[in-house]
Assembly symmetry: C2
Homo-oligomer: 149 residues x 2
Amino acid sequence: MPSYISGYFDGEGCFSVSISPRPSLRVGWEVRPSVALSQNADRREVVDLVHAYFLCGTIRRDSSDRTVKWEVRSLRSIVDSVLPHFDRWPLLSGKQSDVALLARVCLQMEQGEHLRPQGLIEIARLASTMNPSGIRRYEIEEIETSIPR
Amino acid sequence: MPSYISGYFDGEGCFSVSISPRPSLRVGWEVRPSVALSQNADRREVVDLVHAYFLCGTIRRDSSDRTVKWEVRSLRSIVDSVLPHFDRWPLLSGKQSDVALLARVCLQMEQGEHLRPQGLIEIARLASTMNPSGIRRYEIEEIETSIPR
């Protein structure tokens, strides 16, 4: 079963880090890690199974494209529940590099680096190398020029 | 590893039966079972791994959409190499019903049913319930009305 879940995530899973403007934060940007899995609503069994397996995350129906999406955004849950699984049962494709990058970002967030200008820039650079990346080059430049030094 | 492969196929695999006009055959239609897996060319590792695991099928690059596709069309290979795997490590979603339907079609083909009018109709009906189906309702009617009795 654990190995089955890794195989499923290798095809359908998404490991990402998004960075969005957030004026209320001192650095002006919010870092949000995410692990997600989508499936057509008419065969959501594996999404439910993944939810029950990891014991975290939320399931959301998207009525526009009739999919069901499981997603974990909590740093605590990603670090405690999700990453240890993929450490023990890694993906066998290049997507495992996204897992490794997400793990590095989460580690830096646990040390509060996302709240410090230099740390934020490093996280943005790491995130930009992930696929699919929520961060584009111009956004990194925007982050670098916008944050207080 | 076997379980990983089943998890991957649950998301990305495709089990199908296509039926196409073939005037050279007495029944006028050719039945072609298929097991396939596609992936973006830039992370084809799992496709290669699946090829090496099943020891059958072919890998084809589709330059139009930059994907790599592994596919088995040989009845012998599907029956001897692919189906036993999914019998022992079944898919955990509703897609397993496609595997079961493909297995029934292959069994009937081994008995030569696809070369007989009544067998062909039964196969076409089974195939039409698969998802994604290569056969639409009007095609079944076309088959039923076209074959010699």
